[in-house]
C-alpha cells in the first residue's frame, strides 16, 4: 500500500489547474496594462468605494452566518433528540432543496419579496401597507441564509449524532443539570460541526455576486460584484485580479482561524 506515485496525476492536475491559475491571478494583480510591476491594483482596495463594498460584504456575510447558526443549532438538537439516522426522511428533506437550481430559488425569492409580490399581496389583503423588501440589503441577507442554511445544519447535526450517549448519561448520573451537560459536553463536542458550518456559510456569502445581483436590483455593490464588473464589464483584469488577491487573503485568514479546529469530514456531511 505504499504507493505515493498514485497521486502523480492529481499532483500534475493541481499544479496545472489550481496553482498555475492562481499564479496568473497574482501576475495580473501585480502588473498594469503594459505589463510593468505595480502595487496599484492591490492598493486599490483602500479606495473608499472598494472598502465600502468589502465592509458591506463582510457585514452581510457575518449577519447571514450568525442567523444561520442561531436557526440551525436548535434544529440540529431537535433532530438529534428525535434519534434520526443519517439517512432518515427528515435529513433527506433537508438535502432535497439543493437539487433545485439555486439561481431559480433566488429568483423565486424575488417573486415573493417584490413590490407586487406574493408577500405584499398578502399584506395588502390583511389590510397592511405594502413594504419595500426587494432590492435591499435585507433581501440579500435573506437570500444568503436561504441558500446556505443546509450547509450549517448538516455538519452540526453530524457532529451532534457522533456524541456518545453514554457520556451524557454519565454526566447526568454525576448530577449535572441540562445546562451543564449542554455547556460542558454537547457544545464543546459539536464545535467541529459548528466551525465547518460557519466556514461553509461565511465564505460563499462573503464572495457571492449572484445573490446581490438578483435580489439587490443593481443598487447594492458587494466585493464579488466589483470583481465581476472588472472582469466582465469594464475589462480591467488587472484591477479585478488585485481585488481577488485581497479577497483570497481575507478568505484564507478567516479560514485558517477556523479550519484548525474544523471538521475534516464537514463536506461529507451532505451525504
Amino acid at each position: 500500500m505504499n504507493k505515493p506515485h498514485l497521486a502523480t496525476p492529481y499532483v500534475v492536475w493541481i499544479i496545472g489547474f489550481t496553482v498555475l491559475p492562481l499564479l496568473f491571478v497574482l501576475y495580473y494583480g501585480l502588473t498594469d496594462a503594459s505589463g510593468n510591476f505595480t502595487l496599484a491594483n492591490i492598493a486599490a482596495i483602500a479606495d473608499p468605494i472598494h472598502l465600502k463594498a468589502l465592509w458591506l460584504s463582510l457585514l452581510l456575510a457575518f449577519i447571514a452566518t450568525t442567523v444561520c447558526l442561531i436557526i440551525a443549532y436548535p434544529l440540529a438538537m431537535i433532530m438529534r433528540k428525535l434519534n434520526l439516522s443519517k439517512g432518515s426522511f427528515i435529513v433527506m428533506l433537508l438535502i432535497l432543496p439543493m437539487w433545485m437550481n439555486h439561481l431559480l430559488k433566488t429568483l423565486a425569492w424575488q417573486l415573493l419579496l417584490s413590490n407586487n409580490g406574493i408577500f405584499n399581496t398578502i399584506f395588502v389583503a390583511l389590510g397592511m401597507e405594502p413594504v419595500q423588501m426587494l432590492n435591499t440589503s435585507g433581501a440579500i441577507v435573506l437570500g444568503m441564509i436561504y441558500d446556505f442554511l443546509p450547509f450549517m445544519i448538516l455538519p452540526i447535526f453530524n457532529a451532534l449524532t457522533r456524541i456518545d450517549k453514554d457520556v451524557i448519561d454519565a454526566a447526568r448520573d454525576l448530577g449535572a443539570n441540562s445546562l451543564t451537560v449542554f455547556r460542558r459536553i454537547i457544545l464543546p463536542l459539536s464545535m467541529p460541526g459548528i466551525i465547518s458550518g460557519i466556514t461553509m456559510v461565511f465564505v460563499p456569502s462573503m464572495t457571492s455576486f449572484v445573490i446581490s445581483d438578483i435580489l439587490g436590483g443593481g443598487k447594492i455593490l458587494l466585493i464579488g460584484n466589483v470583481i465581476e464588473q472588472e472582469f466582465n464589464k469594464t475589462f480591467n483584469w488587472h484591477l479585478g485580479s488585485g481585488i481577488s488577491i485581497i479577497l483570497m487573503i481575507f478568505v484564507i485568514a478567516s479560514m485558517s482561524l477556523m479550519s484548525r479546529r474544523g471538521d475534516k469530514e464537514g463536506g461529507a456531511a451532505l451525504w
Partner: protein, 257 residues
C-alpha cells in the same frame, strides 16, 4: 408536551421556509401565462414544449454530461490520489492536502476567474474548459470522502494477498476496494451535485453558445425565464425526490430485516 409541540412547530417553520420558493417555482411550471407574475390558468403545456426546445435540451445535455464525466474523472483521479497521498511523507502530505483545500475554501468567483485567465492564454473557451474546471473543483470532494476510509484500513490484508501471489489489481479489488468504495461513491455523488448546481465557475469558463442550465437561467433572468425551465427543474426535482424515497424505503426495509 408543550415543549414537544414547540419543537415540532420549529421544525415545521424551517421546512416551510426551505420549501416556499420551491413551491412557487413548481406552481410557475403549471402557469399558462408566460409572465412570471400573473396566473393565467393551469396548464401542462410547458412539460411538452420543453422537449422540443432545442436550446433547453442542449443545455440539459451539457449539464448532465459535464456533471457525469467530471464526477467520474474526479472519482478516478481522486481515489488514486487519496491512496497516494496517504502514503506520502509528512511534508509532501501537508503540501498536497493544503493544495487540495484551495478549491474548497477559495471563493467560487476567484476559482472561476483564475481558470479563465489560464484558459484564454492557451485555448478558446468552450465545452472542454467547463469540463476541466468542473473536474478541478470536483476532485477534492472525492479525496476528502475517500481519505477517512483509508485511515481505518487494515493494510496487512493487501500485503498478504500480494504475498499469496495475487496481482496488485486483484489484491486491490479484493481487499481495499470493498473498504473504500462507499467513500468513493459518496465523493462521486457530491461531485455530481456540485457540478450540477455550479454557476459562478461555469459562467467565467463557458464558450460561445455552450450553456448549462445554470448559465442559461442567468442569461434569462433579465428578460424573463422561459416557463419550460420551471417545468424542467420541477421534473428534475421530482425525479430526485422519487429516487431518494425509493432508496430510503429500501434501506429502511433492509435495516428491519
Amino acid at each position: 408536551m408543550v415543549k414537544s409541540f414547540l419543537e415540532k412547530a420549529y421544525v415545521a417553520i424551517i421546512f416551510i421556509f426551505l420549501y416556499m420558493p420551491i413551491v412557487v417555482l413548481m406552481a410557475l411550471s403549471f402557469n399558462a401565462s408566460k409572465s412570471k407574475a400573473t396566473w393565467g390558468g393551469f396548464t401542462f403545456d410547458w412539460y411538452q414544449k420543453m422537449f422540443s426546445d432545442g436550446l433547453i435540451m442542449d443545455a440539459l445535455t451539457n449539464t448532465l454530461t459535464i456533471a457525469f464525466i467530471s464526477a467520474l474523472v474526479a472519482a478516478v483521479i481522486g481515489t488514486a490520489a487519496a491512496i497516494g497521498i496517504q502514503a506520502m511523507r509528512k511534508r509532501q502530505y501537508n503540501l498536497t492536502m493544503g493544495a487540495t483545500n484551495i478549491p474548497l475554501l477559495n471563493a467560487d468567483i476567484v476559482t472561476g476567474i483564475s481558470l479563465m485567465l489560464l484558459f484564454v492564454k492557451f485555448t478558446e473557451l468552450g465545452y472542454h474548459t467547463i469540463l476541466l474546471s468542473h473536474i478541478t473543483f470536483n476532485i477534492p470532494y472525492v479525496i476528502l470522502s475517500v481519505m477517512p476510509k483509508l485511515y481505518g484500513l487494515n493494510k496487512s490484508t493487501y500485503e498478504a494477498a500480494l504475498d499469496l501471489g495475487a496481482t496488485p489489481f486483484f489484491a486491490f479489488r479484493k481487499t481495499i476496494w470493498p473498504e473504500i468504495s462507499p467513500g468513493v461513491f459518496t465523493g462521486f455523488l457530491m461531485a455530481l451535485t456540485m457540478s450540477l448546481d455550479d454557476f459562478a465557475i461555469t459562467y467565467f469558463n463557458k464558450g460561445v453558445g455552450v450553456d448549462t442550465i445554470s448559465t442559461m437561467i442567468y442569461a434569462e433572468l433579465r428578460r424573463g425565464i422561459k416557463p419550460e425551465i420551471y417545468a424542467l427543474s420541477t421534473l428534475l426535482f421530482v425525479t430526485v425526490l422519487a429516487l431518494l424515497l425509493i432508496v430510503n424505503y429500501r434501506s429502511a426495509k433492509n435495516t428491519k430485516s
